[in-house]
């Protein structure tokens, strides 16, 4: 069984982005870029399933600009066997529906038994691509996974939902999206980074896959959120209780 793992190149988790003064977006020039953290968890899970003998091959896919190759090399350093880049022009805003269509075309080509994606990207915070892919490919979905067990043509997935956990069984092929507690991705070692450089990386254009990536949503402006200013420090618990009761009147 093949596992397909889409990965996204995003502004690093630790970077605090700045809104551009002309309101057209956030400034990502010269900012550190990394693999979306949820996607790292997805790659790790796929590699573990291959190491357990459940899967035979792990294919990492990234859709975006040329530099997404670096993200794919990281995925291959974690243990993905090969990479596919669907290269899109830098001036096109690539949106989840378009990505889902590109991935659907790759599913038709590669016929994976399982597709594991991060639940959301930490840049646009959309939380859409996995579910959209499942819909387009007519596959069952199990989102926000904290545990995945594969047996007898099914995946038993424990999901994080509001209030607790839910366990679903989905028939394979299926789409699973990862939550934070699914696993802790391994550290990438230097020998594995060297090995990853030699792994196969194929590049396609959206036209090769017959997909129209025209954005459907236009960003009119991006602005700073309303600032919350710091209040006051109180000297002790008694002063705090007094403020809450008599000034804020919230208790």
């Amino acid at each position: 069984m093949k596992i397909l793992v889409p990965v996204k190149r995003v502004v690093d988790y630790n970077v605090k982005v700045r809104v551009k003064s002309d309101g057209t977006g956030v400034d990502i020039a010269n900012v550190k870029m990394s693999m979306n953290p949820f996607d790292e968890i997805a790659i790790e899970e796929a590699v573990r399933l291959r190491e357990k003998g459940v899967a035979s091959e792990v294919i990492a896919v990234s859709c975006g600009v040329t530099q997404c190759q670096e993200t794919l090399r990281t995925a291959m350093a974690i243990g993905a066997d090969r990479g596919i880049l669907v290269e899109t022009p830098a001036d096109v805003d690539l949106q989840p529906l378009a990505v889902a269509k590109l991935l659907k075309a790759l599913i038709d080509k590669e016929q994976p038994g399982l597709i594991i994606l991060g639940k959301q990207a930490i840049d646009d915070d959309c939380n859409q691509t996995g579910q959209m892919l499942a819909a387009l490919a007519d596959l069952p979905q199990a989102t926000y996974a904290s545990k995945i067990e594969v047996a007898d043509g099914h995946a038993l997935v424990t999901r994080e939902i509001d209030g607790g956990l839910e366990i679903l069984s989905v028939s394979l092929p299926a789409v699973v999206t990862t939550d934070l507690r699914l696993n802790e991705p391994r550290y990438v070692t230097l020998p594995n980074i060297m090995k990853a450089k030699k792994k196969q990386l194929d590049t396609f254009k959206p036209e090769d896959l017959g997909v129209d990536i025209t954005p459907r949503i236009k960003t009119l402006k991006v602005s700073e959120p309303a600032k919350r200013s710091a209040g006051i420090k109180v000297p002790d618990v008694a002063a705090l209780v007094d403020k809450l009761k008599n000034v804020a009147k919230v208790i």
Binding site: A135, P140, E160, D179, P215, V241
Partner: protein, 310 residues
């Protein structure tokens, strides 16, 4: 122009997130209908019909809808989608699970986590963990939307008198099945609907200490308990208590952060709270930069003292 709200419910009652979503739907400009898809959910449908501003409730009842499986629930929405200009889900774990499936089947984009309706096709939503706000315009004929509940007031749960229709359910997809769940049972208010939240961080040090220190405070205030990602990752608190960019987004009247440093991802989940209190012994902790009242103190002495003084 009519908007459809997909109700979040437990078959017996409507969850509050539905009420916030109704308000957002009304702001889109037309009539508001509510879909209640469930099993033995007549009580939830009756409650939905009472919501102020709702003109019709579509109640679909079937065993296949008992657990809100994404495949089956999406099929119910798609069966009636053609009648609507806007389809809105609360941006909860359940809503976020199903909405993109509906959008993709309709071949339209989804607008996630809206905090404001500027016009019927233009919405405001946070990006980069709330560090920027984007105003976006959709060119699609149907707008599929998830609603950040903290961005909209709850519609009144009574005063309405909507008609209830009961169409026949779609067939089961047969591709997924519910095997069980573990829902923590307690009498506390739900995190996303609570008026007061007390939240603990890594400084608590262990799950025993987390419970020992945070529970009496929550009990005293009738508050929900939240946690930072660091506390959840360390195993001090359950996963579903995580407040932040990738956890719950909350905006209570009072948020008390105990031993939470205030990483941007945490602030993203709670900075719209009305009053924020931070208790932390590190004077440089970023949480103080958003707190209305900061108390620089060891939480192990300050929190019990707070419990005694309330």
């Amino acid at each position: 122009m009519t908007a459809l709200v997909i109700a979040e419910h437990d078959n017996a009652s409507i969850k509050v997130a539905t009420l916030n979503t109704v308000t957002a739907a009304a702001a889109c400009g037309g009539d508001v209908h509510v879909l209640v898809a469930g099993h033995h959910a007549a009580a939830a449908a009756a409650a939905a019909a009472q919501i102020a501003g709702v003109s019709k409730v579509i109640h679909v009842d079937s065993e296949t809808l008992a657990h809100a499986l994404a495949e089956n629930l999406a099929a119910e929405v798609l069966a009636i989608a053609a009648h609507y200009s806007h389809i809105l889900f609360p941006a909860t774990a359940a809503g976020k699970n199903v909405a993109p499936r509906v959008a993709a089947k309709l071949d339209v984009a989804q607008i996630s986590d809206i905090t404001q309706v500027a016009s019927p096709d233009t919405f405001e939503r946070p990006i980069y963990a709330g560090n920027a706000m984007a105003t976006v315009q959709s060119s699609d004929s149907t707008k599929v939307i998830t609603v950040r509940t903290t961005g909209f007031d709850a519609a009144a749960s009574s005063g309405g008198a909507a008609a209830v229709e009961t169409p026949v359910a779609q067939t089961d997809s047969g591709k997924s099945s519910f095997k069980g769940c573990e829902i923590a049972k307690n009498d506390r208010p739900e995190l996303t609907a609570a008026k007061i939240i007390v939240s603990g961080g890594r400084a608590l040090g262990s799950s025993e200490k987390f419970n020992e220190v945070m529970t009496p405070l929550a009990d005293k205030l009738g508050a929900a308990i939240g946690a930072s990602r660091a506390a959840v990752d360390a195993g001090y608190a359950a996963n579903d208590l995580q407040v932040g960019q990738t956890g719950k987004i909350v905006a209570p009247q009072l948020y008390i952060a105990c031993g939470i440093s205030g990483a941007i991802q945490h602030l993203a989940g709670m900075k719209d709270s009305k009053v924020i209190v931070a208790i932390n012994k590190d004077p440089e902790a970023p949480i103080f930069s958003v707190a209305d009242f900061g108390l620089e103190a060891d939480l192990f002495t300050a929190v019990p003292e707070l419990v005694r003084s309330l």
